[in-house]
Amino acid sequence: MQSLGEAIANALGLLLGGDPELWEIVAISFRVSVTAMLVATPFALLVAFALAHFTFPGRKLLVTLFSSLLSVPAVVVGLTFYLLLSRQGPLGDWKLLFTQSAMVIGQIALAFPILVAMSHSAFHALDRRAWETARTLGAGPLRATLTLMREIRFGLFAALFAAFGRIIAEVGASMMLGGNILHYTRNIPTAIALETSKGEFAQGIALGIVLLSLTFSVTALLQHLQQRRMIGR
């Protein structure tokens, strides 16, 4: 087992030396999580908008449901989709288990409630006059909706970043649905879990640094944009 100092030095070496295995793991993580976000976001925004804008039976129940799903453990999501996608499961014929597609499905299920709940809060908090002003100035429903999204863009960015942060760092669903196969479904969190269990900390620390750098950059960018907006007011 390496000492902490040794492990950090080796981690920096892997990062700066452009270790192909490490960067391949990073690339798989991003490919899976970005795909999940691209699929989930448009539908989640539509659902959030509908929940905030329309009144229909069961609306409050749906809002409560999405809020409750925020705290569902990733491993439970992984287990659910494992049972659905396994050979004996109802979706077994799709042969998706232990593929990147299965990981994308699991991550969509994790990201969707976050996107809906946070976007719904942002839409709900927006002044009703914004929609009415857009409509009375001649905007059709689509343009008015896009206008609302522009008005609450920082709330929506926060929802996107929160959802992305959750799925790129989750272990449970990726491990169960992807199987942690090297060069194929091994992503940052499953690699960290594996390397740590083997007592090999260097790659885990290097991948941890990538995740932390990403989180820091995204938060700094969001804060910078918000500050620019405050100055512009």
Partner: protein, 226 residues
């Protein structure tokens, strides 16, 4: 008497068990300004919002000159031709120029039209200012200039001079006068008629959910007798 652009007939609206509008009738005439007075909570804003198609009535008909049609069938037409201005105008997150440009669908002469609206509203010096940094009077002028760019047939104004000092009110009234002279039909809802001087051609009152013509005013825009 000029021909009515829109005639709203038997507008009814309840909130829960409380009836607010109990068969209000009102008509709008081009180039005329009507003042709708009534105490707070009498339903003025709700009536205006129904006319602008922002809120559905329980029941209402609209006559464009060819006989009454159900409100729901006219909704799109009303939305295209009637513009509603909130008591506190909502300004989009952006500068004054962006807010004015929102009323236009695009086109090559968009910039020139926005420049014209800046001049019309006396907002040239504020063109690049964040809209939400404007004072109450400037906000109302921007909202009116934006409405002017939209060029609807009718503008419905909900307490357009509320919470304004004398100077800002004077500037707003000048713009309203200009709109009337350009041929727009204006309907102003207010709880206080004294703010509007001689701007209006007719005065109506909303009482107990119905619109009544005030006897001392010419029937240029009239509540329809029922």
């Amino acid at each position: 008497m000029s021909q009515a652009l829109f005639r709203f007939i038997d507008v009814r609206k309840s909130f829960g068990r409380r009836p607010l509008l109990r068969g209000a009738d009102i008509e709008l005439v081009a180039g005329r300004c009507a003042l709708l007075v009534g105490r707070n909570g009498s339903g003025k804003s709700t009536l205006l919002r129904i006319m602008a198609s922002l809120e559905p009535p329980d029941r209402a008909s609209v006559d464009f000159g060819g006989g009454p049609l159900p409100w729901r069938r006219c909704r799109g037409y009303l939305q295209r031709h009637i513009l509603y201005l909130h008591q506190q105008p909502y300004l989009f997150d952006g500068d004054v120029r962006y807010n004015l440009g929102y009323a236009l669908k695009g086109g090559r002469d968009k910039r020139a039209l926005v420049d014209a609206a800046l001049r019309w509203g006396g907002l040239e010096a504020l063109a690049g200012a964040p809209a939400r940094s404007l004072s109450g009077g400037e906000r109302q002028r921007l909202a009116l200039a934006r409405a002017w760019l939209r060029r609807p047939a009718v503008m419905l104004l909900d307490e357009p001079t509320a919470n304004m000092d004398g100077e800002a009110r004077h500037a707003t009234l000048e713009l309203l006068r200009a709109l009337r002279e350009e041929g727009y039909a204006l309907l102003i809802a207010s709880h206080d008629q004294h703010h509007f001087g001689d701007l209006f051609d007719a005065r109506m009152a909303l009482r107990e959910g119905r619109v009544a013509q005030c006897a001392d005013e010419p029937p240029a825009i009239a509540a329809v007798g029922r």
